[in-house]
Amino acid sequence: MKYVNQPVQKTDAMALVTGKPVYTDDLAPKDSLIVKVLRSPHANAWVDTIKTDTAKKVPGIVCVFTYEDVPQKRFTLAGQTAPEMSPDDRLILDRHVRFVGDAVAIVAGETEAAVDLALKRIKVKYQVETPVFDIHTAKDNPILVHPEEDWKLKIPLGGDNKRNLCATAREEHGDVDKVLSECAYTVEHTYHTRANQQAMMETFRTACYMDHFGRLIVLSSTQIPFHIRRIVGRALDIPASKVRVIKPRIGGGFGAKQTSVSEIYPAFVTWKTGRPSKMIYSRYESMICSTPRHEMEITVRAGADEHGIIRALDVYTLSNTGAYGEHSSTTVGLSGHKSIGLYRHTEAYRFCFDVVYTNVQAAGAYRGYGATQGIFAVESAVNELAHKMGMDPARMKELNMPVEGGPLPGYPDVPYAQSCAMDRCMARAKEMMNWDSRSLSQDMGNGKVRGLGVAMAMQGSSIAGVDVGGADIKLNEDGSYTLALGCTDMGTGCDTVMAQIAADCLETPMENIVVFSVDTDISPYDSGSYASATTYTTGMAVVKACQELRKKICELGAEMLQTEQENVDFDGSYVFCAEDENKKVSLEEIGLKSTFFNNIELQVVKQHSSPLSPPPFMVGMVEVEVDKETGNIDVLDYVAVVDCGTPINPNLARVQTEGGIVQGIGMALFEDVQYTDKGKIRNNSFMQYKIPSRMDIGKIRVDFESSYEESGPFGAKSIGELVIDTPCPALAEAIYNATGVRVRELPITPEKIAMGILEKEMEK
């Protein structure tokens, strides 16, 4: 292997570092109408009357649309493969507005100033109703977020809009209550994770224009071009064939762009007016009306025998989907499936959940997708159980962790852990942190205390039996290859990773492969880049396509050599006769031959779906220093050891890990979408919603302990999401070890720690 497992530079690197115009707004037609949305000031209200005449008269205004102008068929903005599990609960504009920031009217005009003025001139009279905010009282509350009759769940998931219930389920194996009653040690606690913003640097944005065939071109910063085509078609009530979606470079996604946040508004404007338009979300809009992480409250009961073997886990998750149900029935599943599976001796488990509607900004996909929340809860509970037994939490994990060939209880997507190096991850992490020879807490004698914390995590690699990867590879007449993809490189480097895989499969230099992505008219179908699917799923499609193309190259080469295909071989540069290596034709000659008098097409399109979702595994360990007086936390050192199977590009895998850990540190320590009692978001800019800066992190050290996953390309599994899962539980544990204060509600702020320390002192 020349390229796989090598730290190859990204193929688009030089365009990015020199600031070339490669993003949506750089490429949007210069005469685009500016599109903005008037947003509701109320959390739950009905538009009584809406007057747009004065707004329309503002010079430069081209159109103003209200709920009366849009199609009346409900749809979802969630980018998911069939069977689509999110409920159809949206209209482009609805008379019923369900959160502060919900769309009331669309305005398009020649200049931003004209549009801003017109927005102010729209007069709306609202019939204001009492909102539902409390997740505990949302279910079966008489106030309904979705009272409408045409609310539709396409897959029966227990959701019922007349109960404010988006989804509900119960999964059980064995008699949890009985096993728990037999356990020598048990804990029961409730953990609360908050909504967080993905906060990718490029906000949501879309530009639209009509082509010469009367089709709608949607140029968008999205992770899901093919889903966008379907969603826009449905929202506008036009055939999806009328829509073509193009994805340029994307300035980050982290799941946010797995929901169609910005597309439908300019799409509607361009479809109605025939004119190019664009909608560029401000950071403010990206904070108040986007698609943050689901807030979850998770109650865990865990029981162990006297040796520290975990015998039973009981997990109940209450998830807050907010005003709309995007990704809600699916995210919540991971809170149990990816956490219970970490404990292989579990004889009995139960996982129940409710997902409720409330009148806040709708939640959506964010890296980790429910696993992050569930792993915080279960890892914290197990750490608490270890302390109750007087056992080293790392030791308890060693006794119970997944092992290769062993079971993953409650995780339905592989029959057993086929590839797993969690044991080596733990051993290496302990070695790097010098865990065994250090105390979990250390008083520094200057008012500061240090603590060590540990957590394990697992995720999936694609959605088993659902996700589709696509690859289309062809040989060109100059002997170069074009690899067309439908997956979406959002900075992660998948275009490069796919080229590495193709180059090794075809034994050709990477420079000889042009990667193209994504245009729904040209690219092969691909579910898109989410669910930690791309390397694992699309990577295999690339392998399959290259293997078949090699055969075709041999077939044409054999024809040129006037021999049978079984007599020839291909070394990447030449097709040659096995018996006489001097009889050969070059790749260039074959490429050229394919362009005249030829019946063997040198192009292969392959799809790949896996019935499995083999989990990547990791161990995170952290050392913190806490100021006992102020509660201030310094993250001194974070050690992460990851088993993602074969890292196709070790550089990109390492940076994924570092980036995921820093996002996780933000989630653990300060990121929190907060609301006023009227449902207005407090943190509507980077001024109030702080994401980690380079001053907020200490050392981060990453290492890999690779297993080999047979079902993945060159043994690869996933990495993108896994890496955000350990900071929350590891930091909560380290802070506990430092201070004795256990914080079960994120973020773990200095206030909570300082107050916790005070309370402990008062108890004495």
């Binding site: 570092v17 020199t18 990718m200 640097m201 470079r249 900075g491 480097g493 980077f686 800066s693 380079r694």
Partner: protein, 155 residues
């Protein structure tokens, strides 16, 4: 208002709306490397040089560049490529959206500080946010670049 200024070494005279922000003006003039990541001067994506000093173009009116020299990454392509190679060799460029503002500030830092250490680097660049990389690889690329420059000078 009519203003005279230098943009990437070329003197220009333009009519600007008094309320126009520098970032929007520069993008209108084709400097697409200048990116907006927030509206509150928190992210550093829109960093450009004004008379050699790094400034946030989202927080400055375009009229204030009257008589000044403005440099964007379009005017520093060679430097961007040179340092950018180090960034890319670490896999640190990631989505690339924060790269232009970050690299502008790195260039400003290297012109201002002689041999900055890790702490000084972090402090100087504290206002440049990045959501992809977790910063570690960015710092590593700067240190490696500094080392390369030093060996070059010594040679």
């Amino acid at each position: 208002m009519n203003i005279k200024f230098w943009l990437n070494g070329i003197q220009r005279q333009e009519e600007v709306d008094p309320g126009m922000l520098l970032i929007d003006f520069l993008r209108e003039k084709g400097c697409y490397s200048v990116k907006r990541g927030c509206e509150t001067a928190n992210c550093g994506l829109c960093t450009v040089l004004m008379d050699e000093k790094p400034i946030l173009s989202c927080s400055m009116l375009a009229v204030r560049i009257d008589g000044k020299k403005i440099v964007t990454l379009e005017g520093l392509q060679k430097e961007a490529e040179e340092f950018g190679t180090f960034l890319a060799n670490e896999g640190a460029e990631q989505c690339g959206f924060c790269n232009p503002g970050f690299i502008m500030n790195v260039i400003a830092m290297l012109r201002e500080l002689e041999e900055p250490d890790e702490e000084q680097i972090k402090e100087y660049l504290a206002g440049n946010l990045c959501r992809c990389s977790g910063f570690v690889s960015q710092t590593a690329s700067i240190l490696k670049y500094l080392n390369y420059k030093k060996t070059q000078e010594e040679a």
